[in-house]
């Protein structure tokens, strides 16, 4: 039984209703004639999802190149660059144009920014002396439908730009994406959210709505609720190992723009396959949200069924056979291929996970989430580092320890940091600095164990007073307050006996029954309570910045209420585990969730974003 039936074609309806977003030119008529197109690597996969080479060819694109740090070999008279608005891309174009100038060569150049142009980019063009030699355009490509219920802005850099550097340049971009959805499916009836960025996006979006109020026709809203959330409200969930199938595939092979490259070890042949992973894949759509332990059973059942269906052809007469071949065979063949790929993927995952002691790893994570055996977990992490197991994995565990414990005690922080630098290289000093700034890996202020003081105080005085005291501490150290939140929201389910992963009772199944993802729990609670009422303590522990509609629009029609469509917006990325959890919740409560995220994220991607690139 698949979890969470996706709304048929929800995200694809975006494309249907707003073809302009997708069709709108890579190569505008302003640059007629043959041209070479240079595409930034990060835009290749998204572009692949909506166009192909023959379309580009119709637009007289001759050759395609990747934007990379190499001298170009193009002989074309016209060069077109499709890029993200980044300074380094401007310098890349400038180098080409200036090299041409030096050689006395004249060509036409056009830069197409996706999704928009930034003033700072133009400044670089100006400073490089090529302003005017280059024409600029924008390709307002905000939303990429990755699946029936999933829209991505494909802006992974948003996470670092905003949460680490404090740069707000993408906020209006996101607001515009929201406004686009609002104009296609809106008006949004009830908008909730939490987080500083969420609040800003909400405000900017409201402005846009008011501006365009005139042209919105009074129609029935198709999206009843919107929930905006900052990634830094919940780092814990994003830092955990994923164990639902889609998440595990992402952690193991890295799903890129909705598709994955299965190498020879999966395909058991000498070639790799690029496989689209979405609701169209009949096998995948049934296992994607399942806990990994259920997947084997499902696949073998499926294999048996397939066998039976093939076997049916024995004893068919000619007519039946004809029917079989013309109607069923193709479907069976495709199913067969999919099945063998997913079986191959499972095998490969198991091999990899066994090698790295996955059990022990999960056990450590669960201890950290529940907050016991902290010493033991710390020494497990230490050993991980000493053995030079993958650098991002070690870092992730340290962050999980820090975020769940409100920072490492100074002695541990120093010792783990030293060992990390010794194992993986001293330049990670910079990584640690970044992690500290963003609050993922911090050191408890020496001399005071905040939690100890707090718990003592809260025993003595009323909750209210203790709350004020915690606020005072908050300003000293940025705390994640995970323990307190976990307790308040009951994130660690109490289960007598075994948690049945085959018939999950709550969202905790996405983490083997050990933990209900905080982000999803917040959404559940707010929807249930139609606001933040009764969650004051949680909100305080989450550092505030919550918002809700002043007068929630109550649905008069109960039938429609049952079909609530909720747009969950993740600023800074969401994980496949969170998507699975909310699909489950939707199925339980009769909601339909659709997702808008700045990008798909995972613990490894979070860690990568903290590295300092070699310049």
């Amino acid at each position: 039984m698949p979890l969470g039936q996706p709304v048929p074609g929800w995200a694809f309806r975006v494309r249907e209703r707003y073809p302009g977003t997708y069709g709108a030119l890579f190569v505008p008529p302003q640059l007629p004639g043959k041209k070479d197109l240079f595409i930034e690597a990060d835009l290749m996969s998204p572009l692949d999802r909506i166009a192909n080479v023959s379309i580009l060819k119709q637009h007289e694109v001759d050759k395609l190149y990747k934007v990379e740090n190499k001298p170009i070999v193009s002989t074309s008279d016209q060069l077109c660059f499709l890029v993200r608005p980044r300074i380094k891309n401007m310098k890349y174009v400038a180098d080409i144009v200036n090299a041409d100038k030096a050689m006395g060569r004249s060509r036409k150049y056009k830069i197409i920014f996706s999704p928009q142009k930034f003033y700072s980019c133009e400044l670089v063009l100006e400073e490089e002396g090529i302003y005017g030699d280059v024409t600029c355009d924008e390709w307002a490509f905000y939303l990429l439908p990755l699946d029936d219920d999933l829209l991505s802005m494909e802006l992974p850099e948003f996470f670092r730009d905003y949460f680490l550097e404090g740069d707000q340049r993408w906020i209006s971009t996101i607001a515009r994406a929201l406004q686009l959805l609002n104009s296609l499916f809106g008006p949004f009836a009830n908008t909730y959210g939490i987080g500083r960025c969420a609040k800003m996006v909400y405000e900017v979006w409201r402005e846009l709505v008011e501006e365009s109020e005139g042209d919105s026709h009074a129609r029935r809203p198709e999206i009843s609720h919107v929930f905006l959330m900052d990634r830094d409200v919940d780092y814990v969930t994003a830092l955990c190992s994923q164990v639902v199938y889609e998440g595990l595939v992402d952690d193991t092979f890295r799903i890129k723009c909705g598709s994955v490259d299965f190498g020879p070890d999966v395909t058991s042949s000498d070639r790799s396959f690029k496989v689209l992973l979405n609701a169209q894949d009949k096998v995948f759509s049934e296992i994607r949200n399942e806990h990994f332990s259920n997947v084997f059973g499902f696949l073998s059942q499926k294999a048996r069924n397939l066998q039976t269906q093939y076997d049916r052809r024995r004893g068919m007469d000619i007519k039946q056979m004809k029917n079989f071949v013309s109607q069923e065979l193709k479907g069976l063949k495709q199913e067969h291929r999919l099945l063998s790929l997913h079986i191959g993927a499972c095998e490969s995952i198991m091999k990899k996970k066994t090698k790295q002691d996955f059990q022990e790893l999960l056990k450590t994570e669960h201890s950290l989430l529940e907050g016991f055996d902290i010493r033991e977990s710390t020494s497990y992490i230490e050993e991980h580092i000493d053995r030079q197991v993958s650098p991002s994995e070690s870092l992730r565990l340290m962050c999980l320890l820090s975020v769940t414990e409100n920072g490492l005690i100074p002695k541990d922080y120093r010792s783990l940091k030293t060992q990390y630098l010794q194992s993986y290289g001293p330049e990670h000093l910079l990584t640690f600095h970044n992690l500290k700034r963003i609050g993922l890996l911090t050191e408890q202020a020496p001399g005071e164990t905040l939690t100890a003081v707090e718990s003592k105080v809260s025993k003595l005085v009323t909750d209210r007073a203790a709350g004020k005291l915690t606020d005072a501490f908050n300003s000293l150290a940025r705390k994640s307050n995970f323990r307190g939140i976990s307790k308040k929201l009951g994130l660690i389910p109490r289960v007598d006996g075994e948690y049945n992963l085959k018939v999950p009772r709550d969202m905790a199944y996405v983490f083997s029954g050990a933990y209900i993802p905080l982000s999803c729990k917040i959404i559940e609670q707010v929807l249930e309570r139609k606001g933040w009422l009764g969650l004051e303590e949680v909100v305080r522990l989450l550092n505030g910045n919550e918002f809700a509609p002043t007068e929630p629009v109550m649905e008069e029609n109960p039938a429609w209420e049952a079909q609530r469509v909720i747009l969950a917006v993740f600023l800074g990325g969401c994980t496949f585990s969170e998507i699975s959890a909310l699909r489950f919740l939707g199925k339980e409560k009769g909601y339909k969730f659709i997702f808008l995220t700045t990008a798909i994220t995972s613990s490894a991607r979070l860690m990568d974003a903290m590295l300092e690139a070699k310049v």
């Binding site: 379309i55 001759d62 067969h336 291929r337 990899k352 059990q359 060992q419 194992s423 000093l429």
Partner: protein, 522 residues
């Protein structure tokens, strides 16, 4: 299960490699396929979470294997590779853009510039663009684009000459022209900039107005506009004034810092950080520059200069270590390259180096030195003991690394010595700062013989773990002795069936079973 099966040591060059790769290719990290039943049960009983096992003999894997066989057996019925590409799940391999770019890359790298069109066999267009029609009709979405909200250039915005259009294709509605001559308030100016419309900033000459602009941009949360205004402020204000004003405007300040980082205006960035008294960031920001220095000697020089930067006391030690390590590596590298080239040293002949040791992490360097320079006197720079002392490497880390290196070379004697300690009476005893089960794991992965293995299996403290390891690696003696110590006659009898008939092990079991001194518990 050995990560790196070949006998040579390999030192991968890229420590930042993604995924689960270990830095040294010695199979330290790999876990055993057969998880110990006991371990597992212990865990899954202590936890309420349902286990899903990765056990080799587990039902689920065999189930999976079975399904795989079933599916594979169907292959000959359905196998026709040629229609593969028709399925969407194959990710449209031929027509795809990424594929085409790869083709362009390879064709252009093969063909020298200028000749490349000649190589294209009569086809006037590029061969990488197949003539096949699109399989789905996105082309229908393709229409010429209306110029909607593309905003004007900053340069236009900064010029005070009114209308000026560099880009003829950016057609503006006529009605907009009048905007440029109007006097927009800071608030309106920011609003218009938000919409990408042109506004002259040069008019805002008083500090008060400039700051109103900035505050307004911050108030509407538009980072793009904030940065644009900061660029204007940076051009028209003296540094000290700008810095002072930014100190009380944290949001704007962060934007400027990020902008300076991105454009690489290091000098101004450092001035700003100094002004703000963020000394630690000044130090780190300078230290960061070493990443772009490729030449080892130059990098060393640069790091030397970093030592006196105002790091935190903790980081100062790390940076000093970084410098010392690279200095050390340069010496070792020069020396060893020479040794290897001369062909005199047996170890280098037998195990040629795969990569340079320069810029490797300390632990990798230690591994290298345990591999090639294990017996060297403490006085030399390349000796492991010297490294351990210089960098205060903890015992645990040292033993793990030395063990991995010596096991890789199958130098069992060295392994033995690593764990042997003598007390003051001269008795020897085996001790390890890491669990002996780890030692066993590492030895096993380096294919240590049973005689070596069993010595360490015997030292595993936990009885259950010991028994499991002993059985897994066929250390019969250890199993037998453990059962004897447990006085478990039943298990011993059961085990008798598992050893070879007529073997020494069987004899041993028999003699124990017939020993009347033992008071069996069952």
């Amino acid at each position: 299960m050995v990560l790196c099966a070949e006998p040579t040591v390999s030192l991968p060059l890229n420590p930042g490699e993604e995924g689960g790769g270990t830095l040294r290719a010695v199979g330290l990290a790999a876990g055993a396929m057969n998880r110990m039943k006991v371990d597992e049960e212990e865990y899954w009983h202590s936890s309420k979470c349902k286990a899903f096992t990765f056990d080799d003999e587990d039902d689920e894997l065999s189930q999976l294997k079975e399904s795989k066989r079933a599916v594979n057996s169907l292959r000959d019925i359905v196998d026709d590779d040629d229609d593969l590409e028709k399925f969407s799940w194959s990710g449209e391999p031929v027509g795809s853009i990424s594929w085409s770019i790869k083709e362009t890359a390879s064709s252009s790298s093969n063909a020298p510039e200028g000749r490349d069109s000649g190589l294209q066999k009569g086809s006037s267009s590029h061969p990488a663009l197949p003539k096949q029609a699109s399989s789905y009709s996105i082309s229908s979405f393709f229409k010429g684009r209306n110029k909607l909200g593309s905003f004007q250039s900053l340069s236009d915005a900064l010029s005070d000459t009114g209308v000026k259009s560099y880009a003829p294709e950016l057609r503006r509605p006529k009605a907009e022209y009048k905007d440029y001559t109007s006097d927009w308030s800071p608030k309106d100016t920011v609003r218009r900039m938000q919409r990408g419309k042109i506004c002259s900033l040069e008019r805002f000459r008083s500090l008060r107005e400039k700051l109103m602009l900035l505050d307004e941009a911050v108030a509407v949360h538009d980072g793009n506009v904030i940065t644009a205004i900061l660029i204007f402020l940076k051009r028209t204000l003296k540094r000290e004034i700008l810095f002072q004003e930014l100190e009380v405007r944290q949001v704007a300040l962060r934007h400027l810092i990020h902008f300076l980082k991105e454009t690489g205006e290091q000098k101004l960035l450092l001035d700003l950080l100094r002004f703000l008294d963020r000394t630690e960031e000044v130090a780190l920001s300078q230290y960061r520059e070493h990443l772009s220095i490729q030449d080892a000697e130059k990098r060393r020089e640069f790091l030397k200069g970093c030592i006196r930067l105002p790091f935190s006391s903790e980081d100062a030690v790390h940076v000093l270590d970084h410098y010392t390590l690279l200095e050390r590596q340069i010496i070792i590298e020069a020396n060893d390259r020479h040794l290897e080239a001369a062909g005199q040293s047996e170890i280098f002949r037998k195990y040629p180096r795969k990569a340079s040791i320069l810029n490797m992490p300390l632990v990798t360097t230690l591994f290298y030195s345990c591999f090639y320079h294990y017996t060297e006197a403490e006085g030399t720079f390349s000796s492991p003991i010297n490294l351990k002392k210089t960098f205060k490497i903890p015992d645990k880390q040292y033993v793990l690394t030395a063990l991995a290196a010596r096991a890789k070379l199958r130098a069992w004697h060295d392994v033995d010595a690593l764990f042997t300690t003598k007390n003051w009476l001269g008795y020897t005893k085996k001790r390890a700062p890491i669990g002996f089960h780890r030692v066993v794991e590492i030895l096993q992965r380096n294919s240590a013989p049973v005689q070596v293995l069993q010595e360490y299996v015997r030292l595993v403290e936990d009885v259950e773990t010991r028994l499991n390891l002993a059985m897994k690696y066929k250390c019969h003696d250890v199993v037998i002795d453990t059962y004897r110590d447990l006085k478990d006659r039943h298990q011993l009898m059961a085990y008798r069936c598992k050893v070879e008939r007529g073997s020494a092990e069987e004899d041993k079991i028999d003699s124990i079973l017939s020993n009347l001194q033992i008071r069996w518990k069952n």
